[in-house]
Protein backbone atom coordinates (compact mmCIF):
# COMPACT_ATOMS: atom_id res chain seq x y z
CA UNK A 1 0.00 0.00 0.00
CA UNK A 2 1.16 3.53 -0.69
CA UNK A 3 0.02 6.92 0.57
CA UNK A 4 0.71 10.23 -1.08
CA UNK A 5 1.84 12.53 1.68
CA UNK A 6 0.94 16.15 0.88
CA UNK A 7 4.49 17.16 1.83
CA UNK A 8 6.64 14.16 0.92
CA UNK A 9 4.84 12.70 -2.11
CA UNK A 10 4.00 9.02 -2.73
CA UNK A 11 5.51 6.80 -0.06
CA UNK A 12 5.48 3.17 0.99
CA UNK A 13 3.07 2.36 3.81
CA UNK A 14 5.96 1.31 6.05
CA UNK A 15 6.66 4.99 6.73
CA UNK A 16 3.22 5.53 8.22
CA UNK A 17 1.28 4.32 11.21
CA UNK A 18 -2.47 4.11 11.56
CA UNK A 19 -4.39 5.82 14.33
CA UNK A 20 -8.00 5.14 13.43
CA UNK A 21 -11.18 7.07 12.74
CA UNK A 22 -10.73 10.77 12.03
CA UNK A 23 -13.47 11.64 14.54
CA UNK A 24 -10.49 12.17 16.86
CA UNK A 25 -10.00 15.57 15.25
CA UNK A 26 -13.20 16.79 16.92
CA UNK A 27 -12.29 16.75 20.59
CA UNK A 28 -15.39 17.60 22.64
CA UNK A 29 -15.55 20.83 24.56
CA UNK A 30 -17.91 19.48 27.20
CA UNK A 31 -17.59 16.31 29.34
CA UNK A 32 -20.73 14.77 27.83
CA UNK A 33 -19.12 14.23 24.46
CA UNK A 34 -16.12 12.25 25.64
CA UNK A 35 -17.70 8.82 25.88
CA UNK A 36 -18.56 8.82 22.19
CA UNK A 37 -15.30 10.54 21.31
CA UNK A 38 -13.16 7.89 22.96
CA UNK A 39 -15.21 4.76 22.36
CA UNK A 40 -17.81 4.98 19.62
CA UNK A 41 -16.71 4.30 16.05
CA UNK A 42 -18.48 3.66 12.79
CA UNK A 43 -17.21 0.67 10.86
CA UNK A 44 -18.21 1.48 7.30
CA UNK A 45 -17.68 -0.76 4.30
CA UNK A 46 -16.65 1.95 1.90
CA UNK A 47 -15.14 5.42 2.15
CA UNK A 48 -13.78 6.19 5.61
CA UNK A 49 -11.93 9.18 7.05
CA UNK A 50 -9.01 8.12 9.16
CA UNK A 51 -5.83 9.45 10.70
CA UNK A 52 -2.35 8.33 9.71
CA UNK A 53 0.96 9.56 11.03
CA UNK A 54 3.94 10.01 8.75
CA UNK A 55 6.39 9.06 11.47
CA UNK A 56 9.29 8.07 9.25
CA UNK A 57 8.73 11.10 7.07
CA UNK A 58 7.68 14.68 7.77
CA UNK A 59 6.06 13.92 11.14
CA UNK A 60 2.75 15.13 9.81
CA UNK A 61 -0.62 13.82 10.92
CA UNK A 62 -2.68 13.05 7.86
CA UNK A 63 -6.38 12.77 7.27
CA UNK A 64 -6.83 10.01 4.75
CA UNK A 65 -10.05 9.12 3.00
CA UNK A 66 -9.81 5.43 2.15
CA UNK A 67 -12.27 2.88 0.82
CA UNK A 68 -12.19 0.07 3.37
CA UNK A 69 -13.44 -2.44 0.80
CA UNK A 70 -10.96 -1.79 -2.02
CA UNK A 71 -8.24 -0.02 0.00
CA UNK A 72 -8.33 2.70 -2.61
CA UNK A 73 -6.98 5.94 -1.17
CA UNK A 74 -9.37 8.70 -2.18
CA UNK A 75 -7.63 11.71 -0.66
CA UNK A 76 -4.85 12.69 1.73
CA UNK A 77 -4.50 16.02 3.50
CA UNK A 78 -2.64 17.41 6.49
CA UNK A 79 -4.95 16.88 9.45
CA UNK A 80 -4.47 20.43 10.71
CA UNK A 81 -5.70 21.80 7.40
CA UNK A 82 -8.52 19.31 6.99
CA UNK A 83 -10.29 19.80 10.30
CA UNK A 84 -14.01 20.02 9.95
Amino acid sequence: MRLTCPLCGPRDVREFSYRGDAVLTDRPTTPEGFHDYVHIRENPAGPHDELWHHGAGCGGWLKVRRDTVTHEVLSVALAREARS
Binding site: L7, R14, E15
Partner: protein, 182 residues
Protein backbone atom coordinates in the same frame (compact mmCIF):
# COMPACT_ATOMS: atom_id res chain seq x y z
CA UNK B 1 39.08 22.14 36.04
CA UNK B 2 42.06 21.41 33.90
CA UNK B 3 40.20 18.98 31.66
CA UNK B 4 39.28 20.03 28.20
CA UNK B 5 36.75 17.45 27.08
CA UNK B 6 37.80 15.69 23.91
CA UNK B 7 35.17 15.74 21.16
CA UNK B 8 34.22 12.61 19.26
CA UNK B 9 32.29 12.50 16.00
CA UNK B 10 29.29 10.17 15.60
CA UNK B 11 30.94 7.88 13.03
CA UNK B 12 34.36 8.07 14.62
CA UNK B 13 36.11 4.73 14.10
CA UNK B 14 33.22 3.41 12.00
CA UNK B 15 33.74 5.17 8.66
CA UNK B 16 34.98 5.32 5.97
CA UNK B 17 33.94 2.06 4.36
CA UNK B 18 34.60 1.22 0.74
CA UNK B 19 33.86 -1.60 -1.68
CA UNK B 20 34.09 -1.63 -5.46
CA UNK B 21 33.28 1.85 -6.70
CA UNK B 22 31.48 2.81 -3.48
CA UNK B 23 32.66 4.86 -0.59
CA UNK B 24 30.90 6.08 2.54
CA UNK B 25 32.69 8.76 4.53
CA UNK B 26 31.68 10.82 7.51
CA UNK B 27 30.81 14.46 6.99
CA UNK B 28 31.02 16.75 10.01
CA UNK B 29 29.10 19.97 9.60
CA UNK B 30 30.36 22.82 11.76
CA UNK B 31 26.90 23.78 12.89
CA UNK B 32 23.40 22.33 12.53
CA UNK B 33 20.46 24.34 13.83
CA UNK B 34 16.85 23.28 13.54
CA UNK B 35 14.66 26.22 12.58
CA UNK B 36 10.90 25.95 13.06
CA UNK B 37 9.06 29.17 12.13
CA UNK B 38 6.18 30.11 14.37
CA UNK B 39 2.69 30.49 12.95
CA UNK B 40 2.68 32.84 9.98
CA UNK B 41 6.38 33.62 10.28
CA UNK B 42 7.81 31.65 7.35
CA UNK B 43 8.30 34.75 5.22
CA UNK B 44 9.99 36.55 8.11
CA UNK B 45 12.25 33.57 8.65
CA UNK B 46 13.13 33.46 4.96
CA UNK B 47 13.99 37.15 5.13
CA UNK B 48 16.26 36.62 8.12
CA UNK B 49 17.94 33.66 6.41
CA UNK B 50 18.50 35.68 3.24
CA UNK B 51 21.45 37.36 5.00
CA UNK B 52 23.19 34.02 4.59
CA UNK B 53 22.00 33.44 1.03
CA UNK B 54 19.28 31.08 2.27
CA UNK B 55 15.53 31.00 2.70
CA UNK B 56 13.10 28.65 4.39
CA UNK B 57 12.88 25.67 1.99
CA UNK B 58 9.73 24.28 0.45
CA UNK B 59 8.74 20.74 1.33
CA UNK B 60 11.41 18.40 0.02
CA UNK B 61 13.76 21.20 -0.92
CA UNK B 62 17.37 21.96 -0.08
CA UNK B 63 18.39 25.61 -0.46
CA UNK B 64 22.13 25.93 -0.84
CA UNK B 65 24.53 28.84 -0.45
CA UNK B 66 28.32 28.97 -0.50
CA UNK B 67 28.98 27.88 3.08
CA UNK B 68 25.53 26.95 4.30
CA UNK B 69 22.35 25.14 3.33
CA UNK B 70 18.80 25.01 4.55
CA UNK B 71 17.47 21.45 4.37
CA UNK B 72 13.77 20.82 4.71
CA UNK B 73 13.41 18.24 7.49
CA UNK B 74 9.69 18.02 8.12
CA UNK B 75 6.49 19.84 8.81
CA UNK B 76 7.34 23.50 9.61
CA UNK B 77 10.99 22.64 10.10
CA UNK B 78 14.37 22.87 8.41
CA UNK B 79 17.97 22.35 9.40
CA UNK B 80 20.40 25.15 8.69
CA UNK B 81 23.80 23.53 8.26
CA UNK B 82 26.92 25.62 7.95
CA UNK B 83 30.68 25.41 8.21
CA UNK B 84 30.59 27.56 11.33
CA UNK B 85 27.75 28.75 13.59
CA UNK B 86 25.77 31.55 11.96
CA UNK B 87 24.04 34.46 13.64
CA UNK B 88 20.51 33.55 12.65
CA UNK B 89 18.61 36.36 14.38
CA UNK B 90 15.37 34.41 14.56
CA UNK B 91 14.33 35.33 18.09
CA UNK B 92 10.58 35.52 18.35
CA UNK B 93 9.89 34.26 14.84
CA UNK B 94 11.17 30.70 15.00
CA UNK B 95 12.13 27.98 17.46
CA UNK B 96 15.84 27.36 17.04
CA UNK B 97 17.52 24.30 18.49
CA UNK B 98 21.13 23.22 18.30
CA UNK B 99 21.26 19.84 16.56
CA UNK B 100 24.98 19.85 15.74
CA UNK B 101 25.63 16.89 18.03
CA UNK B 102 22.32 15.14 17.52
CA UNK B 103 22.95 13.60 14.13
CA UNK B 104 25.58 11.66 12.24
CA UNK B 105 26.14 12.55 8.60
CA UNK B 106 27.67 10.36 5.93
CA UNK B 107 28.30 10.86 2.27
CA UNK B 108 27.84 7.94 -0.12
CA UNK B 109 29.52 8.19 -3.52
CA UNK B 110 30.56 5.97 -6.43
CA UNK B 111 28.94 5.21 -9.77
CA UNK B 112 25.73 3.32 -9.14
CA UNK B 113 25.33 4.52 -5.53
CA UNK B 114 21.60 4.51 -6.27
CA UNK B 115 21.75 0.70 -6.12
CA UNK B 116 23.11 0.91 -2.58
CA UNK B 117 20.34 3.29 -1.52
CA UNK B 118 17.76 0.96 -3.13
CA UNK B 119 18.74 -1.65 -0.52
CA UNK B 120 18.27 0.76 2.37
CA UNK B 121 15.62 3.33 1.62
CA UNK B 122 12.05 2.98 0.31
CA UNK B 123 12.25 6.27 -1.61
CA UNK B 124 13.15 6.31 -5.30
CA UNK B 125 16.89 7.21 -5.56
CA UNK B 126 16.00 9.21 -8.69
CA UNK B 127 14.61 11.81 -6.28
CA UNK B 128 17.92 12.09 -4.41
CA UNK B 129 19.38 14.91 -6.45
CA UNK B 130 20.99 18.23 -5.61
CA UNK B 131 18.39 20.70 -4.45
CA UNK B 132 16.32 17.99 -2.77
CA UNK B 133 16.19 16.99 0.87
CA UNK B 134 13.80 14.33 2.04
CA UNK B 135 12.76 12.49 5.16
CA UNK B 136 12.40 8.75 5.08
CA UNK B 137 13.87 5.72 6.71
CA UNK B 138 17.25 4.29 5.84
CA UNK B 139 17.88 0.77 7.12
CA UNK B 140 14.88 1.02 9.51
CA UNK B 141 16.18 4.30 10.95
CA UNK B 142 14.60 7.73 10.63
CA UNK B 143 16.82 9.67 8.30
CA UNK B 144 17.36 12.84 6.35
CA UNK B 145 18.52 12.21 2.79
CA UNK B 146 20.08 15.02 0.85
CA UNK B 147 21.25 14.86 -2.78
CA UNK B 148 24.71 16.10 -3.71
CA UNK B 149 26.43 16.22 -7.09
CA UNK B 150 28.38 12.98 -6.80
CA UNK B 151 26.12 11.01 -4.50
CA UNK B 152 23.97 11.41 -1.48
CA UNK B 153 24.26 12.48 2.15
CA UNK B 154 22.46 10.37 4.72
CA UNK B 155 21.88 11.65 8.21
CA UNK B 156 20.60 9.63 11.17
CA UNK B 157 20.31 10.34 14.86
CA UNK B 158 23.65 10.04 16.57
CA UNK B 159 22.88 6.98 18.66
CA UNK B 160 22.10 5.04 15.46
CA UNK B 161 25.51 5.75 13.92
CA UNK B 162 26.87 2.27 14.69
CA UNK B 163 23.97 0.53 12.98
CA UNK B 164 24.01 3.00 10.10
CA UNK B 165 27.71 2.41 9.46
CA UNK B 166 27.10 -1.34 9.61
CA UNK B 167 24.11 -1.23 7.29
CA UNK B 168 25.71 0.98 4.67
CA UNK B 169 28.82 -1.16 4.80
CA UNK B 170 26.84 -4.37 4.23
CA UNK B 171 24.77 -2.78 1.48
CA UNK B 172 27.65 -1.33 -0.49
CA UNK B 173 29.69 -4.51 -0.11
CA UNK B 174 26.72 -6.53 -1.32
CA UNK B 175 26.05 -4.33 -4.35
CA UNK B 176 29.75 -4.27 -5.22
CA UNK B 177 29.88 -8.09 -5.01
CA UNK B 178 26.86 -8.36 -7.28
CA UNK B 179 28.42 -5.99 -9.80
CA UNK B 180 31.42 -8.33 -9.82
CA UNK B 181 29.14 -11.24 -10.66
CA UNK B 182 27.74 -9.60 -13.79
Amino acid sequence: MADILRAQSPFSGRLPVTAGPFKAVEVIPGSVMSVAPYRGQQAAVSKALSHHGLRFPDAGEAVEAAHAAALWTGLDECFVISDAPLPLNLDGIAAVTDQTDGWGWLRLTGAGWQEVMARLCPVDPALMVPGRALRSEVGHMMAIVYGVTDGVIVCVMRSFAGTMAHDISVALTSVAAQKEME
